[in-house]
Symmetry: C2
DNA sequence: TTGCACAATGGCAACGTTAACATTTGGGCG
DNA sequence: CGCCCAAATGTTAACGTTGCCATTGTGCAA
């Protein structure tokens, strides 16, 4: 029962196999200039000693870590899981790993995310922005550290990618108007949410593009309870035949609120949400909603960094459109 | 506009500050044996050159990465976000980072997770087990790599931590029996889910401990639709006054299924779920459920690795109990 | 004045890997 | 038979950091 005292290095393997360290290295990288017999002998030595290449030595030599850092101000948040799925998938594809970091949001700045990352073994970084960082305009990425921001806003020095919230609202409003509704009421969200504000702007702009003055919106707080209250309030408004809620929880709450006031969905009022987060939760009703492709957002961000590989990094801005899912909560008036 | 050509090392800082590399290093670590004036001069040089310590050099020297690897077979899964929150929080506390890796589940083995991690800059690893790996009994962690498994099963060589699913069922069943119900029906889940099977076992054992023969269970698939079907089926069973569903989506589906057959909840039938995942989604009803502390599970796992710091790693097994949340879906028969 | 303790700093080596270059070996061909 | 080329392998140095030990400078007690 031999105790493992320390890590096994190429030197140990070389000694056991009776070759030079370089030959071991070449074997690890499966270089064609090593004789098959030699390779086999080296591999046997590696197996016997339990050799694993040391990441630090390798990175030091190569000057690359093959790792992308992800900075999040909030780990818990809608879509984060899907985004991470995308990060991991893209990283995998390029042979990269993902390093996850929670950044304290006080102050809420890109600088704090950046300095947090600077001491970690990463070649590039992704920052997920939920709110507006105080230094968005003035931020400069660390030299040599390609930085991708997950946001709809465009940044002069960093590539950006996000769901197209504006287009999402446009799709919803056009769809409802296309069903013959005269206007679309909106249940919004707290003002500090960037994505929510963009949905709000999209709703307003699209109505205006159709020469419809946007009705007064109701500000919710993402919860079904606030949607419920909004639904009750809108139930008494005779002009309200179509409601667009900023997420599915509020949309569903709104439906229940309308029903509590005797309105039926979709017969009396049509309701649309955003998120596609209720699919598995509400059994007997399919909410009309917009499904975002957060996985693709995550993949794009990591692809941008891991796919660069020495290519001069360019600044690009990418918006990924969502898809409107037709459910049972919209009625055509035509 | 000077172009940054390559990374700045202690050598560059030392030259500019007119001191030795060692003094720079000591300044970085704020050693008391450097004169304040010298420190300030070195710091000024660091600022001017934009010096950032190189992770690879440091790790190579220290033989530590200050990073914990997390291997997941599925990124998307209930509770993963909270667990990650816990990973990140604990890592932060110890000055560690988290490296996330998605492991291909074909084959579904601990070995594949382990070998995936072996080439990454991590000091220890956490594996999230959703199913039973083929090599659970025979797996040996990599030498020098402390390995923590997130599972209720105990492993002879690896520490383990998870929510106490067994206790969760015990709490639910005891609670319902305590309200005067004669038995508790159960909506289960696919058999390959480890946690689901443990809930099932807990339900069965607890009933038996009260000399109640467990009624026939209904196997669902985690979705509200399957809960809906189960609710409809159970609506016709006159012995059924209390239903325990293996997650909240099925519990909610079950309620709707019961209602579709004219049964009222909780007046006619009491329903309890597990997850506490509906809090923000169903506005007008608070489901009685069990809330797990996945964040704490994640923290424990990372604490175990990052908190060890040279201490001889011991094998421990930790179960974190959930908390029963009383809602509006249970009626007392007393 | 000498000796000594201690504070401040410097020199050197090593961590594990691999690119670049150097060397050896074997075989083909004039 | 000698020459040259290519295949196979070896040697060296460097990536950036920091622990260890050596050196220098300073103040104070004997």
């Amino acid at each position: 029962m031999a105790a493992v005292k320390k890590s096994v290095s190429v030197k140990d393997v070389a000694r056991l196999a009776g070759v030079s360290e370089q030959t071991v290295s070449r074997t690890v990288h499966d270089s064609p200039s090593v004789r098959p017999e030699t390779k086999e002998r080296v591999r046997a030595a590696m197996r016997e000693l339990g050799y694993r290449p040391n990441f630090a030595g390798r990175s030091l030599r190569r000057g690359k870590f093959k790792t992308v850092g992800v900075a999040m101000f909030n780990i818990t948040g809608t879509g984060n899981l899907d985004r991470m799925e995308g990060f991991a998938a893209a990283a995998d594809k390029h042979g990269y790993a993902i390093t996850l970091t929670k950044v304290d949001g006080h102050p809420y700045t890109l600088e704090s995310a950046s300095s947090r990352m600077s001491a970690l073994p990463v070649d590039g970084m992704v920052v997920i922005m939920n709110r507006m960082p105080a230094d968005f305009g003035t931020f400069e990425p660390l030299p040599g550290m390609q930085t991708v921001l997950v946001t709809m806003l465009e940044h002069p020095l960093c590539s950006t990618v996000d769901n197209d919230q504006f287009d999402c609202s446009r799709q919803v409003v056009e769809y409802l108007l296309g069903q013959g509704h005269k206007t679309v009421h909106f249940i919004s969200c707290p003002e500090r949410s960037l994505s929510g504000m963009q949905r709000e702007e999209g709703w307003r702009e699209t109505l205006r593009a159709h020469d419809i003055e946007p009705p007064r919106l109701i500000r919710g707080d993402w919860t079904a309870q606030s949607g419920y209250a909004a639904g009750q309030a809108l139930a008494d408004d005779p002009t309200c035949t179509a409601i667009y809620a900023s997420n599915d929880a509020m949309a569903y709450g709104c439906i229940r609120g309308l029903e509590s006031r005797g309105k039926r969905v979709p017969q009396d009022v049509s309701v649309v949400g955003v998120d596609d987060s209720l699919g598995d939760i509400v059994p007997d009703r399919r909410l009309t909603t917009v499904r975002f492709d957060n996985k693709r957002v995550g993949m794009w961000a990591v692809d941008k960094i891991a796919g660069a590989e020495g290519v001069a990094p360019s600044v690009e801005h990418m918006l990924i459109p969502g898809v409107l899912i037709e459910g049972d909560t919209v009625r055509s008036l035509r």
